[in-house]
Amino acid sequence: MSETVLMKGNEAIAEAAILAGCRHYFGYPITPQTEVAAYMAKKMPKIGGTFLQAESEIAAINMVYGVAATGHPAMTSSSSPGISLKAEGISYLAGADLPALIVNVQRGGPGLGGIQPSQSDYDFVTRGPGHGDFHVLVFAPSSVQEMADLTGRAFHLAWKYRMPAMLLADGTMGQMMEPVNLPEPCNAFGDDNPWAATGTEMKRPHNIINSLDLSPENLEKMNFARFERYAKIEETECLWEEYLMDDAEICIVATGITARVSRNAIVEARKQGLKVGMIRPITLWPFPKKVLAQAADQVKAFLCVEMNMGQMKQDVELAIRCKKPVALCNRVGGMIPTPDEVLDSIRKIAEGGMEA
Protein backbone atom coordinates (compact mmCIF):
# COMPACT_ATOMS: atom_id res chain seq x y z
CA MET A 1 0.00 0.00 0.00
CA SER A 2 1.27 3.45 -0.83
CA GLU A 3 1.77 6.26 1.69
CA THR A 4 -1.20 8.16 3.03
CA VAL A 5 -1.58 11.78 1.91
CA LEU A 6 -4.10 14.53 2.66
CA MET A 7 -6.05 15.52 -0.43
CA LYS A 8 -9.05 17.39 -1.68
CA GLY A 9 -11.57 15.17 -3.45
CA ASN A 10 -10.90 16.94 -6.73
CA GLU A 11 -7.15 16.39 -6.41
CA ALA A 12 -7.70 12.71 -5.58
CA ILE A 13 -9.63 12.24 -8.82
CA ALA A 14 -6.85 13.85 -10.83
CA GLU A 15 -4.04 11.88 -9.16
CA ALA A 16 -5.98 8.60 -9.36
CA ALA A 17 -6.62 9.15 -13.07
CA ILE A 18 -2.91 9.67 -13.64
CA LEU A 19 -2.09 6.56 -11.60
CA ALA A 20 -4.60 4.58 -13.68
CA GLY A 21 -2.61 5.54 -16.77
CA CYS A 22 -4.59 8.51 -18.10
CA ARG A 23 -2.31 11.00 -19.88
CA HIS A 24 -4.87 13.18 -21.67
CA TYR A 25 -7.01 15.72 -19.88
CA PHE A 26 -9.19 18.33 -21.56
CA GLY A 27 -11.30 20.74 -19.55
CA TYR A 28 -12.68 24.15 -18.91
CA PRO A 29 -12.72 25.73 -15.43
CA ILE A 30 -15.90 25.83 -13.38
CA THR A 31 -16.44 25.90 -9.61
CA PRO A 32 -16.51 23.58 -7.67
CA GLN A 33 -14.33 21.23 -9.79
CA THR A 34 -11.56 23.57 -10.90
CA GLU A 35 -8.93 21.82 -8.75
CA VAL A 36 -9.12 18.80 -11.06
CA ALA A 37 -7.93 20.97 -13.94
CA ALA A 38 -5.46 22.91 -11.75
CA TYR A 39 -3.87 19.67 -10.54
CA MET A 40 -3.65 18.30 -14.08
CA ALA A 41 -2.13 21.56 -15.32
CA LYS A 42 0.61 21.22 -12.73
CA LYS A 43 1.25 17.49 -13.07
CA MET A 44 0.68 16.47 -16.72
CA PRO A 45 3.58 18.47 -18.23
CA LYS A 46 5.96 16.86 -15.73
CA ILE A 47 5.04 13.31 -16.79
CA GLY A 48 4.79 13.80 -20.53
CA GLY A 49 1.00 13.99 -20.54
CA THR A 50 -1.39 16.46 -22.11
CA PHE A 51 -3.27 19.12 -20.19
CA LEU A 52 -5.32 21.33 -22.43
CA GLN A 53 -7.70 24.07 -21.38
CA ALA A 54 -10.19 24.01 -24.22
CA GLU A 55 -12.13 27.02 -25.46
CA SER A 56 -15.35 25.51 -24.11
CA GLU A 57 -16.82 22.40 -22.50
CA ILE A 58 -18.09 21.31 -25.91
CA ALA A 59 -14.60 21.47 -27.38
CA ALA A 60 -13.18 19.55 -24.41
CA ILE A 61 -15.58 16.59 -24.72
CA ASN A 62 -14.91 16.35 -28.44
CA MET A 63 -11.15 16.31 -27.80
CA VAL A 64 -11.84 13.39 -25.45
CA TYR A 65 -13.70 11.70 -28.32
CA GLY A 66 -10.70 12.18 -30.56
CA VAL A 67 -8.19 10.68 -28.13
CA ALA A 68 -10.55 7.83 -27.19
CA ALA A 69 -10.87 6.94 -30.88
CA THR A 70 -7.13 6.21 -30.92
CA GLY A 71 -7.53 3.80 -28.00
CA HIS A 72 -5.90 6.07 -25.42
CA PRO A 73 -7.48 6.92 -22.08
CA ALA A 74 -8.83 10.46 -21.91
CA MET A 75 -10.93 12.39 -19.48
CA THR A 76 -12.68 15.66 -18.90
CA SER A 77 -14.23 17.20 -15.82
CA SER A 78 -16.81 19.87 -15.15
CA SER A 79 -19.71 20.83 -12.93
CA SER A 80 -23.43 20.64 -13.69
CA PRO A 81 -23.91 23.48 -16.26
CA GLY A 82 -20.77 22.30 -18.05
CA ILE A 83 -22.08 18.73 -18.19
CA SER A 84 -25.21 20.00 -19.94
CA LEU A 85 -22.91 21.42 -22.61
CA LYS A 86 -21.05 18.12 -22.89
CA ALA A 87 -24.25 16.08 -23.33
CA GLU A 88 -24.04 16.03 -27.13
CA GLY A 89 -20.46 14.77 -27.03
CA ILE A 90 -21.31 12.11 -24.45
CA SER A 91 -24.09 10.81 -26.69
CA TYR A 92 -21.63 10.65 -29.62
CA LEU A 93 -19.12 8.74 -27.45
CA ALA A 94 -21.86 6.26 -26.51
CA GLY A 95 -22.97 5.98 -30.16
CA ALA A 96 -19.42 5.26 -31.27
CA ASP A 97 -18.88 2.80 -28.37
CA LEU A 98 -15.91 4.78 -27.06
CA PRO A 99 -14.63 4.61 -23.48
CA ALA A 100 -13.88 7.82 -21.56
CA LEU A 101 -14.15 9.30 -18.09
CA ILE A 102 -16.33 12.32 -17.43
CA VAL A 103 -16.22 13.87 -13.95
CA ASN A 104 -19.22 15.84 -12.72
CA VAL A 105 -18.80 17.70 -9.41
CA GLN A 106 -22.36 18.88 -9.04
CA ARG A 107 -23.53 22.36 -8.03
CA GLY A 108 -26.98 23.84 -7.58
CA GLY A 109 -29.28 24.35 -10.57
CA PRO A 110 -31.14 24.61 -12.82
CA GLY A 111 -29.52 27.17 -15.13
CA LEU A 112 -26.51 28.93 -13.71
CA GLY A 113 -27.79 27.93 -10.27
CA GLY A 114 -25.01 28.50 -7.78
CA ILE A 115 -21.61 27.21 -6.74
CA GLN A 116 -22.71 25.44 -3.56
CA PRO A 117 -23.09 21.63 -3.61
CA SER A 118 -26.01 19.68 -5.04
CA GLN A 119 -27.10 16.24 -6.24
CA SER A 120 -29.63 17.48 -8.75
CA ASP A 121 -28.07 15.97 -11.89
CA TYR A 122 -29.20 12.50 -10.76
CA ASP A 123 -31.99 12.02 -13.31
CA PHE A 124 -30.01 13.75 -16.06
CA VAL A 125 -27.00 11.44 -15.86
CA THR A 126 -28.58 8.13 -14.79
CA ARG A 127 -30.90 8.13 -17.82
CA GLY A 128 -28.06 8.67 -20.28
CA PRO A 129 -26.99 12.32 -20.43
CA GLY A 130 -27.75 13.15 -24.07
CA HIS A 131 -30.04 12.16 -26.93
CA GLY A 132 -30.72 8.59 -27.99
CA ASP A 133 -30.91 5.25 -26.20
CA PHE A 134 -27.82 4.86 -24.08
CA HIS A 135 -26.36 4.72 -20.59
CA VAL A 136 -23.13 5.77 -18.97
CA LEU A 137 -21.69 4.04 -15.92
CA VAL A 138 -22.30 6.37 -12.95
CA PHE A 139 -20.27 6.21 -9.73
CA ALA A 140 -21.17 8.23 -6.61
CA PRO A 141 -18.24 8.46 -4.14
CA SER A 142 -18.86 9.32 -0.50
CA SER A 143 -15.29 9.98 0.67
CA VAL A 144 -12.03 11.24 -0.76
CA GLN A 145 -10.75 7.65 -0.62
CA GLU A 146 -13.66 6.56 -2.82
CA MET A 147 -13.02 9.48 -5.17
CA ALA A 148 -9.61 7.92 -5.82
CA ASP A 149 -10.72 4.27 -5.85
CA LEU A 150 -13.76 4.80 -8.08
CA THR A 151 -11.80 6.86 -10.60
CA GLY A 152 -9.62 3.84 -11.39
CA ARG A 153 -12.63 1.54 -11.42
CA ALA A 154 -14.60 3.84 -13.71
CA PHE A 155 -11.73 3.93 -16.20
CA HIS A 156 -11.32 0.17 -16.03
CA LEU A 157 -15.01 -0.59 -16.62
CA ALA A 158 -15.34 2.07 -19.32
CA TRP A 159 -12.62 0.18 -21.18
CA LYS A 160 -14.03 -3.23 -20.44
CA TYR A 161 -17.46 -2.31 -21.81
CA ARG A 162 -16.39 0.36 -24.31
CA MET A 163 -18.68 3.05 -22.97
CA PRO A 164 -18.36 6.41 -21.19
CA ALA A 165 -18.21 6.39 -17.39
CA MET A 166 -19.09 9.26 -15.09
CA LEU A 167 -17.81 10.04 -11.64
CA LEU A 168 -20.73 11.90 -10.06
CA ALA A 169 -19.68 13.81 -6.95
CA ASP A 170 -21.39 16.62 -5.14
CA GLY A 171 -19.49 19.86 -4.62
CA THR A 172 -18.72 19.00 -0.99
CA MET A 173 -17.00 15.76 -2.02
CA GLY A 174 -14.88 17.70 -4.50
CA GLN A 175 -13.84 20.36 -2.00
CA MET A 176 -13.41 18.44 1.25
CA MET A 177 -10.02 17.21 2.41
CA GLU A 178 -9.40 13.76 3.83
CA PRO A 179 -6.53 11.31 4.18
CA VAL A 180 -6.28 8.96 1.23
CA ASN A 181 -4.21 5.92 0.30
CA LEU A 182 -3.50 6.38 -3.36
CA PRO A 183 -3.75 3.27 -5.53
CA GLU A 184 -0.63 1.74 -7.07
CA PRO A 185 0.12 2.88 -10.62
CA CYS A 186 -1.40 0.56 -13.20
CA ASN A 187 -2.54 0.49 -16.76
CA ALA A 188 -6.31 0.06 -16.69
CA PHE A 189 -6.49 0.00 -20.43
CA GLY A 190 -4.30 -2.58 -22.04
CA ASP A 191 -2.25 -1.79 -25.12
CA ASP A 192 -4.26 -3.87 -27.52
CA ASN A 193 -7.49 -2.15 -28.52
CA PRO A 194 -8.43 -3.84 -31.80
CA TRP A 195 -11.19 -1.30 -32.41
CA ALA A 196 -8.94 1.78 -32.19
CA ALA A 197 -8.10 3.99 -35.17
CA THR A 198 -4.31 3.69 -35.08
CA GLY A 199 -3.40 3.27 -38.74
CA THR A 200 -3.91 0.09 -40.75
CA GLU A 201 -0.38 -0.16 -42.19
CA MET A 202 -2.28 -1.76 -45.09
CA LYS A 203 -2.56 -4.93 -42.99
CA ARG A 204 -6.18 -4.79 -41.83
CA PRO A 205 -9.50 -3.20 -42.76
CA HIS A 206 -10.16 0.33 -41.51
CA ASN A 207 -11.51 0.82 -38.02
CA ILE A 208 -14.24 3.37 -38.50
CA ILE A 209 -15.19 5.37 -35.40
CA ASN A 210 -18.63 6.74 -36.05
CA SER A 211 -22.09 7.03 -34.54
CA LEU A 212 -23.85 7.34 -37.91
CA ASP A 213 -25.31 4.28 -39.57
CA LEU A 214 -26.80 4.53 -43.06
CA SER A 215 -28.90 1.42 -42.60
CA PRO A 216 -31.80 1.52 -40.12
CA GLU A 217 -31.55 -2.28 -39.83
CA ASN A 218 -27.91 -2.00 -38.76
CA LEU A 219 -28.57 0.89 -36.40
CA GLU A 220 -31.30 -1.13 -34.75
CA LYS A 221 -28.94 -4.08 -34.39
CA MET A 222 -26.30 -1.84 -32.79
CA ASN A 223 -28.86 -0.53 -30.30
CA PHE A 224 -30.03 -4.01 -29.37
CA ALA A 225 -26.44 -5.23 -28.97
CA ARG A 226 -25.60 -2.25 -26.77
CA PHE A 227 -28.56 -2.95 -24.50
CA GLU A 228 -27.56 -6.60 -24.19
CA ARG A 229 -24.26 -5.31 -22.89
CA TYR A 230 -26.10 -2.98 -20.51
CA ALA A 231 -28.16 -5.91 -19.18
CA LYS A 232 -24.95 -7.78 -18.36
CA ILE A 233 -23.59 -4.71 -16.56
CA GLU A 234 -26.80 -4.37 -14.51
CA GLU A 235 -26.35 -8.00 -13.51
CA THR A 236 -22.69 -7.83 -12.48
CA GLU A 237 -21.46 -4.30 -11.79
CA CYS A 238 -23.77 -2.88 -9.11
CA LEU A 239 -21.98 -1.51 -6.06
CA TRP A 240 -23.52 -0.50 -2.75
CA GLU A 241 -22.85 -0.24 0.97
CA GLU A 242 -25.12 -1.74 3.64
CA TYR A 243 -24.87 0.03 6.98
CA LEU A 244 -26.53 -1.44 10.10
CA MET A 245 -29.16 -3.17 7.96
CA ASP A 246 -29.30 -6.50 9.84
CA ASP A 247 -32.17 -5.51 12.14
CA ALA A 248 -33.25 -2.27 10.43
CA GLU A 249 -36.93 -1.33 10.29
CA ILE A 250 -36.31 1.92 8.46
CA CYS A 251 -33.89 1.99 5.53
CA ILE A 252 -32.25 5.25 4.53
CA VAL A 253 -31.11 5.51 0.92
CA ALA A 254 -28.52 8.22 0.32
CA THR A 255 -25.32 8.85 -1.65
CA GLY A 256 -22.32 11.16 -1.45
CA ILE A 257 -22.37 13.80 1.28
CA THR A 258 -25.99 13.08 2.32
CA ALA A 259 -24.95 9.49 3.14
CA ARG A 260 -22.43 10.92 5.61
CA VAL A 261 -25.01 13.20 7.19
CA SER A 262 -27.37 10.21 7.36
CA ARG A 263 -24.74 8.10 9.11
CA ASN A 264 -24.60 10.67 11.92
CA ALA A 265 -28.40 10.66 12.12
CA ILE A 266 -28.50 6.83 12.22
CA VAL A 267 -26.00 6.68 15.10
CA GLU A 268 -28.17 9.17 17.01
CA ALA A 269 -31.41 7.34 16.14
CA ARG A 270 -29.98 4.03 17.36
CA LYS A 271 -29.14 5.68 20.70
CA GLN A 272 -32.83 6.51 20.93
CA GLY A 273 -33.77 2.89 20.22
CA LEU A 274 -34.88 3.43 16.62
CA LYS A 275 -33.78 0.61 14.30
CA VAL A 276 -32.44 2.47 11.31
CA GLY A 277 -29.97 1.35 8.65
CA MET A 278 -28.80 2.55 5.28
CA ILE A 279 -28.29 1.22 1.79
CA ARG A 280 -25.91 3.55 -0.02
CA PRO A 281 -25.87 3.05 -3.79
CA ILE A 282 -22.29 3.50 -5.04
CA THR A 283 -23.19 2.87 -8.67
CA LEU A 284 -26.22 4.95 -9.66
CA TRP A 285 -26.32 3.32 -13.07
CA PRO A 286 -26.50 0.39 -12.78
CA PHE A 287 -28.77 1.05 -9.78
CA PRO A 288 -28.59 -1.63 -7.04
CA LYS A 289 -32.22 -2.65 -7.41
CA LYS A 290 -31.94 -6.19 -6.07
CA VAL A 291 -30.61 -5.31 -2.62
CA LEU A 292 -33.32 -2.67 -2.24
CA ALA A 293 -36.01 -5.13 -3.32
CA GLN A 294 -34.72 -7.59 -0.71
CA ALA A 295 -34.72 -4.87 1.94
CA ALA A 296 -38.35 -4.11 1.08
CA ASP A 297 -39.30 -7.51 2.53
CA GLN A 298 -37.61 -6.58 5.81
CA VAL A 299 -38.18 -2.89 6.55
CA LYS A 300 -41.35 -0.92 7.22
CA ALA A 301 -40.35 2.13 5.21
CA PHE A 302 -37.59 3.79 3.20
CA LEU A 303 -36.27 7.32 3.58
CA CYS A 304 -34.37 8.98 0.73
CA VAL A 305 -32.03 11.76 1.82
CA GLU A 306 -31.16 13.85 -1.20
CA MET A 307 -29.95 17.27 -2.31
CA ASN A 308 -32.53 17.46 -5.09
CA MET A 309 -36.33 17.36 -5.31
CA GLY A 310 -36.55 13.58 -4.87
CA GLN A 311 -35.01 12.23 -8.07
CA MET A 312 -33.53 9.04 -6.61
CA LYS A 313 -36.73 8.41 -4.64
CA GLN A 314 -38.41 7.39 -7.89
CA ASP A 315 -35.68 4.83 -8.59
CA VAL A 316 -36.15 3.39 -5.10
CA GLU A 317 -39.93 3.14 -5.62
CA LEU A 318 -39.33 1.38 -8.93
CA ALA A 319 -36.74 -0.98 -7.45
CA ILE A 320 -39.06 -2.06 -4.63
CA ARG A 321 -42.14 -2.03 -6.89
CA CYS A 322 -43.77 0.39 -4.40
CA LYS A 323 -43.97 -2.44 -1.85
CA LYS A 324 -43.27 -0.08 1.05
CA PRO A 325 -43.66 3.67 1.50
CA VAL A 326 -40.69 5.83 0.50
CA ALA A 327 -40.33 9.21 2.25
CA LEU A 328 -38.05 12.09 1.33
CA CYS A 329 -35.82 14.37 3.39
CA ASN A 330 -34.23 16.92 1.10
CA ARG A 331 -32.56 20.31 0.79
CA VAL A 332 -31.74 22.06 -2.47
CA GLY A 333 -30.11 25.19 -3.88
CA GLY A 334 -26.73 24.45 -2.33
CA MET A 335 -28.01 23.58 1.15
CA ILE A 336 -26.95 20.36 2.91
CA PRO A 337 -29.45 18.60 5.20
CA THR A 338 -28.43 18.46 8.87
CA PRO A 339 -28.36 15.24 10.91
CA ASP A 340 -31.20 16.72 12.99
CA GLU A 341 -33.38 17.16 9.92
CA VAL A 342 -32.78 13.54 8.95
CA LEU A 343 -33.46 12.45 12.53
CA ASP A 344 -36.77 14.35 12.51
CA SER A 345 -37.81 12.49 9.36
CA ILE A 346 -36.82 9.17 10.94
CA ARG A 347 -38.90 9.96 14.02
CA LYS A 348 -41.92 10.97 11.96
CA ILE A 349 -41.74 7.71 10.01
CA ALA A 350 -41.35 5.72 13.23
CA GLU A 351 -44.43 7.43 14.65
CA GLY A 352 -46.30 6.71 11.45
CA GLY A 353 -46.82 10.39 10.78
CA MET A 354 -44.78 10.95 7.64
CA GLU A 355 -46.48 11.01 4.29
CA ALA A 356 -44.60 8.90 1.78
Binding site: L6, G108, I115, P117, G171, M176, L239, W240, V267, G333
Partner: protein, 233 residues
Protein backbone atom coordinates in the same frame (compact mmCIF):
# COMPACT_ATOMS: atom_id res chain seq x y z
CA UNK B 1 5.53 33.41 21.89
CA UNK B 2 6.36 36.75 20.30
CA UNK B 3 3.90 38.41 17.97
CA UNK B 4 3.74 41.37 15.61
CA UNK B 5 0.89 43.74 14.83
CA UNK B 6 0.07 41.91 11.61
CA UNK B 7 0.34 38.16 11.13
CA UNK B 8 -0.15 36.74 7.66
CA UNK B 9 -0.73 33.06 6.92
CA UNK B 10 0.09 31.94 3.37
CA UNK B 11 1.07 28.66 1.77
CA UNK B 12 -0.06 25.84 -0.50
CA UNK B 13 -3.82 25.56 -0.65
CA UNK B 14 -5.15 23.00 1.76
CA UNK B 15 -2.15 23.44 4.05
CA UNK B 16 -4.38 24.52 6.94
CA UNK B 17 -4.09 28.31 6.85
CA UNK B 18 -7.69 29.07 7.76
CA UNK B 19 -7.88 26.84 10.83
CA UNK B 20 -4.54 28.13 12.10
CA UNK B 21 -5.47 31.76 11.44
CA UNK B 22 -8.67 31.35 13.49
CA UNK B 23 -6.81 29.70 16.36
CA UNK B 24 -4.01 32.25 16.27
CA UNK B 25 -6.53 35.09 16.39
CA UNK B 26 -8.17 33.51 19.44
CA UNK B 27 -4.74 33.16 21.06
CA UNK B 28 -3.91 36.83 20.40
CA UNK B 29 -7.28 37.78 21.88
CA UNK B 30 -6.28 35.71 24.90
CA UNK B 31 -3.30 38.05 25.34
CA UNK B 32 -5.84 40.82 25.90
CA UNK B 33 -5.44 42.46 22.48
CA UNK B 34 -8.00 43.94 20.12
CA UNK B 35 -7.97 41.53 17.20
CA UNK B 36 -9.36 41.61 13.67
CA UNK B 37 -9.23 38.75 11.16
CA UNK B 38 -9.28 39.44 7.43
CA UNK B 39 -10.21 36.75 4.92
CA UNK B 40 -8.36 37.56 1.70
CA UNK B 41 -9.02 34.15 0.14
CA UNK B 42 -10.11 34.65 -3.46
CA UNK B 43 -9.56 31.02 -4.45
CA UNK B 44 -11.54 28.69 -2.22
CA UNK B 45 -15.30 28.45 -2.82
CA UNK B 46 -16.08 26.40 0.34
CA UNK B 47 -14.56 25.97 3.83
CA UNK B 48 -13.74 29.59 4.54
CA UNK B 49 -12.93 31.79 7.51
CA UNK B 50 -16.57 32.79 7.44
CA UNK B 51 -17.43 29.30 8.78
CA UNK B 52 -15.79 30.38 12.07
CA UNK B 53 -17.57 33.74 12.26
CA UNK B 54 -19.77 32.88 15.25
CA UNK B 55 -16.81 31.64 17.27
CA UNK B 56 -14.81 34.77 16.50
CA UNK B 57 -17.73 37.02 17.34
CA UNK B 58 -18.26 35.28 20.67
CA UNK B 59 -14.61 35.95 21.51
CA UNK B 60 -14.95 39.63 20.58
CA UNK B 61 -12.92 39.35 17.38
CA UNK B 62 -13.94 41.25 14.27
CA UNK B 63 -14.02 39.37 10.96
CA UNK B 64 -13.57 41.17 7.67
CA UNK B 65 -14.61 39.00 4.74
CA UNK B 66 -16.10 39.35 1.31
CA UNK B 67 -19.88 39.76 1.10
CA UNK B 68 -19.78 36.91 -1.39
CA UNK B 69 -18.00 34.38 0.86
CA UNK B 70 -20.17 31.25 1.25
CA UNK B 71 -22.71 32.67 -1.20
CA UNK B 72 -23.83 31.06 -4.44
CA UNK B 73 -21.62 33.15 -6.71
CA UNK B 74 -17.94 32.68 -7.36
CA UNK B 75 -16.70 36.26 -7.25
CA UNK B 76 -13.03 36.56 -6.34
CA UNK B 77 -13.81 39.83 -4.53
CA UNK B 78 -11.84 41.48 -1.74
CA UNK B 79 -13.67 43.14 1.16
CA UNK B 80 -13.39 46.92 0.94
CA UNK B 81 -12.76 47.33 4.66
CA UNK B 82 -9.67 45.11 4.53
CA UNK B 83 -7.71 48.35 4.19
CA UNK B 84 -8.73 49.28 7.74
CA UNK B 85 -6.47 46.49 8.94
CA UNK B 86 -3.34 48.03 7.44
CA UNK B 87 -4.45 51.60 8.22
CA UNK B 88 -5.65 51.26 11.81
CA UNK B 89 -2.51 50.50 13.79
CA UNK B 90 -4.40 50.21 17.07
CA UNK B 91 -5.63 46.70 16.27
CA UNK B 92 -3.76 43.43 15.86
CA UNK B 93 -4.55 41.80 12.57
CA UNK B 94 -4.53 38.21 11.35
CA UNK B 95 -4.67 37.84 7.59
CA UNK B 96 -5.79 34.58 5.97
CA UNK B 97 -4.25 34.67 2.51
CA UNK B 98 -5.62 32.48 -0.30
CA UNK B 99 -3.73 29.35 -1.31
CA UNK B 100 -0.72 29.23 -3.64
CA UNK B 101 0.50 32.12 -5.79
CA UNK B 102 -2.99 32.59 -7.24
CA UNK B 103 -4.33 33.34 -3.77
CA UNK B 104 -1.35 35.43 -2.71
CA UNK B 105 -1.70 37.73 -5.71
CA UNK B 106 -4.55 39.53 -3.96
CA UNK B 107 -2.30 40.41 -1.04
CA UNK B 108 -0.05 42.52 -3.23
CA UNK B 109 -2.14 45.66 -3.01
CA UNK B 110 -1.70 45.85 0.78
CA UNK B 111 2.00 45.07 0.74
CA UNK B 112 3.42 48.62 0.35
CA UNK B 113 1.67 49.72 3.56
CA UNK B 114 2.56 46.52 5.40
CA UNK B 115 6.23 46.99 4.51
CA UNK B 116 6.15 50.70 5.34
CA UNK B 117 4.93 49.94 8.86
CA UNK B 118 7.31 46.97 9.15
CA UNK B 119 5.53 45.35 12.10
CA UNK B 120 4.48 42.03 10.57
CA UNK B 121 5.12 38.32 10.32
CA UNK B 122 4.64 36.57 7.00
CA UNK B 123 4.25 32.85 7.74
CA UNK B 124 4.60 29.93 5.35
CA UNK B 125 2.25 27.12 6.39
CA UNK B 126 3.63 23.73 5.43
CA UNK B 127 1.95 20.32 5.51
CA UNK B 128 4.26 17.48 4.45
CA UNK B 129 1.25 15.22 3.86
CA UNK B 130 -0.02 17.37 0.97
CA UNK B 131 0.96 15.69 -2.30
CA UNK B 132 2.46 18.80 -3.92
CA UNK B 133 4.62 19.76 -0.88
CA UNK B 134 5.94 16.35 0.13
CA UNK B 135 9.60 17.18 -0.35
CA UNK B 136 11.79 20.24 0.17
CA UNK B 137 12.16 21.06 -3.53
CA UNK B 138 8.43 20.95 -4.26
CA UNK B 139 7.68 23.04 -1.16
CA UNK B 140 10.34 25.53 -2.24
CA UNK B 141 8.63 25.91 -5.60
CA UNK B 142 5.35 26.89 -3.90
CA UNK B 143 7.22 29.15 -1.44
CA UNK B 144 8.97 31.08 -4.24
CA UNK B 145 5.83 31.36 -6.36
CA UNK B 146 3.95 32.92 -3.45
CA UNK B 147 6.71 35.43 -2.65
CA UNK B 148 6.89 36.40 -6.32
CA UNK B 149 3.10 36.82 -6.53
CA UNK B 150 2.62 39.07 -3.49
CA UNK B 151 6.07 40.69 -3.23
CA UNK B 152 6.20 40.11 0.52
CA UNK B 153 9.03 37.84 1.69
CA UNK B 154 8.26 35.20 4.29
CA UNK B 155 9.68 35.69 7.78
CA UNK B 156 9.07 32.26 9.36
CA UNK B 157 7.71 28.74 8.83
CA UNK B 158 4.65 27.17 10.45
CA UNK B 159 4.69 23.39 10.48
CA UNK B 160 1.24 21.89 10.09
CA UNK B 161 1.81 18.34 8.94
CA UNK B 162 -1.41 16.37 9.43
CA UNK B 163 -3.60 13.67 7.94
CA UNK B 164 -6.84 15.10 9.27
CA UNK B 165 -8.46 12.80 11.84
CA UNK B 166 -5.86 10.07 11.17
CA UNK B 167 -2.94 12.23 12.38
CA UNK B 168 -0.66 10.40 14.79
CA UNK B 169 1.88 12.10 17.08
CA UNK B 170 4.73 10.65 15.01
CA UNK B 171 3.33 12.36 11.88
CA UNK B 172 3.57 15.68 13.69
CA UNK B 173 7.09 14.93 14.92
CA UNK B 174 8.20 14.00 11.39
CA UNK B 175 6.48 17.13 10.07
CA UNK B 176 8.32 19.26 12.65
CA UNK B 177 11.67 17.90 11.44
CA UNK B 178 10.59 18.61 7.86
CA UNK B 179 9.68 22.19 8.80
CA UNK B 180 13.08 22.65 10.49
CA UNK B 181 14.87 21.29 7.43
CA UNK B 182 12.85 23.54 5.15
CA UNK B 183 13.56 26.53 7.42
CA UNK B 184 17.29 25.85 7.20
CA UNK B 185 17.06 25.65 3.41
CA UNK B 186 15.38 29.07 3.14
CA UNK B 187 17.17 30.61 6.13
CA UNK B 188 14.08 31.19 8.26
CA UNK B 189 13.10 30.09 11.78
CA UNK B 190 10.17 27.81 12.60
CA UNK B 191 7.65 29.90 14.51
CA UNK B 192 5.38 27.09 15.59
CA UNK B 193 4.34 23.50 14.99
CA UNK B 194 0.57 23.07 14.90
CA UNK B 195 -1.50 20.00 15.63
CA UNK B 196 -4.93 19.18 16.96
CA UNK B 197 -5.24 19.89 20.67
CA UNK B 198 -6.35 16.27 21.02
CA UNK B 199 -2.68 15.38 20.62
CA UNK B 200 -1.49 17.92 23.21
CA UNK B 201 -0.58 15.35 25.86
CA UNK B 202 1.72 13.46 23.51
CA UNK B 203 3.26 16.50 21.87
CA UNK B 204 3.58 19.42 24.26
CA UNK B 205 6.84 18.18 25.75
CA UNK B 206 8.33 16.55 22.66
CA UNK B 207 7.77 19.18 19.96
CA UNK B 208 9.42 22.57 20.18
CA UNK B 209 7.10 25.61 19.74
CA UNK B 210 4.03 23.37 19.84
CA UNK B 211 0.81 25.28 19.12
CA UNK B 212 -2.33 23.22 19.76
CA UNK B 213 -5.28 24.10 17.57
CA UNK B 214 -8.98 23.47 17.79
CA UNK B 215 -10.16 22.23 14.39
CA UNK B 216 -13.49 23.48 13.07
CA UNK B 217 -16.02 20.66 12.93
CA UNK B 218 -18.55 20.58 10.12
CA UNK B 219 -21.90 18.98 10.82
CA UNK B 220 -21.95 16.95 7.64
CA UNK B 221 -18.75 15.08 8.44
CA UNK B 222 -19.10 11.90 10.48
CA UNK B 223 -18.39 12.03 14.17
CA UNK B 224 -15.18 10.34 15.26
CA UNK B 225 -15.42 6.57 15.57
CA UNK B 226 -18.13 6.11 12.92
CA UNK B 227 -17.29 3.24 10.61
CA UNK B 228 -18.39 2.11 7.19
CA UNK B 229 -20.81 -0.76 6.62
CA UNK B 230 -20.37 -3.68 4.23
CA UNK B 231 -19.47 -2.86 0.65
CA UNK B 232 -20.04 -5.59 -1.94
CA UNK B 233 -16.62 -5.37 -3.60
Amino acid sequence: MNYKRLTLFAGHYGSGKTNIALNYALWLRGQGLRVTVADLDIVNPYFRTKDGEAQLKAAGIRLISSDYANSNVDLPALPGDAYSLVDDRSVHGVIDVGGDDRGALALGRYVPKIREEGDYEMLFVLNKARPLTRNIDDALEVFCEIEAACALPFTAIVGNTNLGPLTKPEDVVAGAAFAEEFGERVGLPVKMICASQKLSNELQNTVRNFFPINIMQLYYMEKEGTSLGKINL
